[in-house]
């Protein structure tokens, strides 16, 4: 892993104040992510991993420390850090096409003609295999298809970093596997920098270059970072018996369930 720092977290901490009580969710998070790298953040519920993603996304402001993207401080939301939300967050009154188009129209208003924006939207929809459903509304398509559109919308912003907040958490196992393959394929083709929140060990090992393991909250921080030394392209079937895959999987499970097992109260 010899890449220059692209996205970096420096001493990021986050506290929420409710009345007189202050809850520290994150403390001293230091992480550097290289361009084109696929990094997963894994941890038990309540470890602040979504908070971390929202800080990068600019939806939350960290209490201490800063996040830098290409050397510039992140302090507000923006299309350079597109988010794939867990619950897809499609606008129900717009079609599949319209949901992607609204983002493209805003982001490329000055830099692309209307015809070019249309082609751009269609290209992203084709990338996630949703072009033939362009005129359907969100309530007419399945959960997996909605998430495909959510991915297309995020990719259409041509983000520097693609942020995915448990993108497949609400999907059934087969659909999830399908979408994971799609994401691997897209990552291989476009070379995006991706930061993904997950609580699925297999998903993290399959997709990531590095896996960031979070300790339990409150005051959660990075416990360990595991480099997944698996060559790409990765094939789900071949990995089942791969030694490196099994080692990574065991390492993450060991971290999550032996050394940082979920506190009893939250289980």
């Amino acid at each position: 892993m010899n890449r220059s720092t692209y996205l970096s977290f420096e001493q990021v901490g986050m506290s929420f104040r409710r009345g007189a009580r202050v809850t520290e969710v994150l403390r001293d998070v230091d992480l550097k992510i290289g361009e084109g790298e696929f990094v997963s953040i894994i941890g038990h519920s309540g470890c602040g991993k979504s908070t971390l993603l929202n800080i990068v996304g600019g939806l939350l402001k960290s209490t201490t420390g800063e996040v830098f993207l290409e050397g510039r401080v992140v302090d507000e939301p923006g299309p350079d850090r597109a988010i794939v939300f867990q619950n897809h967050s499609l606008l129900p009154w717009l079609t599949v096409y319209g949901n992607v188009r609204i983002a493209v129209d805003k982001v490329f208003r000055r830099t692309k003609s209307a015809a070019a924006r249309h082609d751009w939207v269609m290209h992203k929809l084709e990338l996630v295999q949703m072009a033939q459903h362009r005129d359907k509304r969100p309530h007419e398509i399945s959960g997996g298809m909605k998430q495909r559109v959510g991915i297309a919308r995020a990719l259409a912003m041509q983000p520097k970093v693609l942020l995915m907040d448990e993108p497949f958490g609400a999907l059934d196992a087969l659909t999830r596997a399908h979408l994971q393959d799609s994401v691997m394929d897209i990552h291989a083709r476009l070379g995006n920098t991706v930061m993904m929140i997950t609580h699925d060990v297999d998903e993290a090992v399959l997709l990531s270059d590095r896996i960031v393991m979070m300790t339990n909250g409150p005051s959660a921080t990075i416990g360990e970072v595991l480099t997944v030394g698996l060559p790409r392209p990765r094939r789900r079937l071949e990995l089942a018996t791969d030694v490196e895959y099994t080692r990574c999987r065991a390492a993450v499970i060991e971290f999550l369930y032996a050394r940082h097992k979920m506190p009893a109260r939250a289980a």
């Binding site: 939806l59 606008l91 399908h178 089942a240 999987r249 499970i253």
Partner: protein, 299 residues
């Protein structure tokens, strides 16, 4: 017990990737035309028969009760006989207020249209304001909650004093009656815009103006139309009462005039018309909401 936790989480990696299955296109079998037609007719009959039967039963009961000697209200047969000319010729115009049913209803609807349109525009604008600004909500909501309980007719003397003319006073009564549900429902809709939509808007950096047109309004449409439906019903209730007091051409004063001339049958026919028009107004707003919200608003 880490080992137990491990045990309940079987490895997913043994899952084979879903192989692309061959898709066989089955020819869609459409039933023959006659069969589909029969299906539609039987479905329509299933829906139409119960209300028709109930209506017949109720009319028969009414006929029975009012046919006895000394009955104060006319039976349906007498109503029909008395008002037949009025029913079959709704367009006659003998000058003054001696006009056909169409003109009375059209006049009332005209007043409702103006008053309700003003209430819709002002109500949506105020509702958005109250929904978006906590300060405006705290300041205005208690005032609205008190004002909305004032009965429509209680406003009439005040508006007559202000406008010194019957027509704008009636329109004002419609306006003030129907605006409250529009304001309240719109503001609830604005306050209930899901955080998800706000996050999406933040990521693509919609301006305040774009957020209003592309998120706030479409997300609030189902709520707005709920308010509009209640509002149009209330304004139809209010216009009949207001017209009884202000006089002139209109279905409300028609009823009052009929009572003063002891034309009880005319009153009954007018009531039926008012009910039907009110029902149609409600369906109209509901259908409009259904179309505008792309089916997300219940009709």
């Amino acid at each position: 017990m880490p080992s137990a936790v491990k045990a309940v989480k079987p490895p997913v990696d043994s899952d084979a990737p879903p192989a692309p299955a061959a898709v066989l296109a089955l020819p869609l079998k459409r039933p023959p035309l006659a069969e589909r037609l029969a299906l539609i007719i039987s479905e329509a009959a299933r829906r139409a028969v119960p209300p028709v039967v109930m209506l017949a039963v109720l009319i028969a009961l009414w006929e029975l009760l009012c046919s006895q000697a000394g009955s104060r209200l006319p039976p349906p047969s007498k109503v029909l006989a008395d008002t037949w000319d009025f029913i079959v010729d709704p367009f006659y115009d003998n000058g003054g207020i001696d006009k056909g049913a169409f003109w009375h209803i059209a006049n009332s609807l005209g007043r409702v249209a103006i008053g309700f349109a003003l209430a819709a525009v002002a109500g949506i604008a105020l509702g958005v304001l109250v929904g978006q600004s906590t300060w405006a909500m705290r300041g205005l909501d208690p005032i609205f909650q008190v004002l909305r309980t004032i009965p429509p007719l209680a406003w009439l003397p005040l508006s007559l004093a202000g406008f010194r003319d019957a027509q704008p006073s009636a329109i004002f009564v419609i306006f003030i009656t129907s605006i409250w549900p529009v304001i309240i429902n719109t503001s609830v809709g604005v306050r209930n815009i899901p955080q998800d939509y706000r996050n999406v808007a933040a990521v693509i950096r919609l301006s305040w103006y774009e957020f209003f047109w592309k998120i706030t309004l479409p997300a609030t449409v189902p709520y707005i139309f709920t308010g509009l439906r209640i509002g149009v019903g209330l304004s139809w209730l209010a216009i009949v009462a207001a017209e009884m007091l202000i006089g002139g051409v209109g279905i409300g004063f028609f009823i009052w005039d009929a009572w003063n001339s002891s034309r009880i049958s005319d009153i009954i026919v007018a009531l039926v018309y008012i009910g039907l028009v009110g029902f149609l107004l409600d369906r109209l707003i509901a259908a409009l909401g259904h179309v505008i919200s792309h089916g997300t608003s219940a009709s």
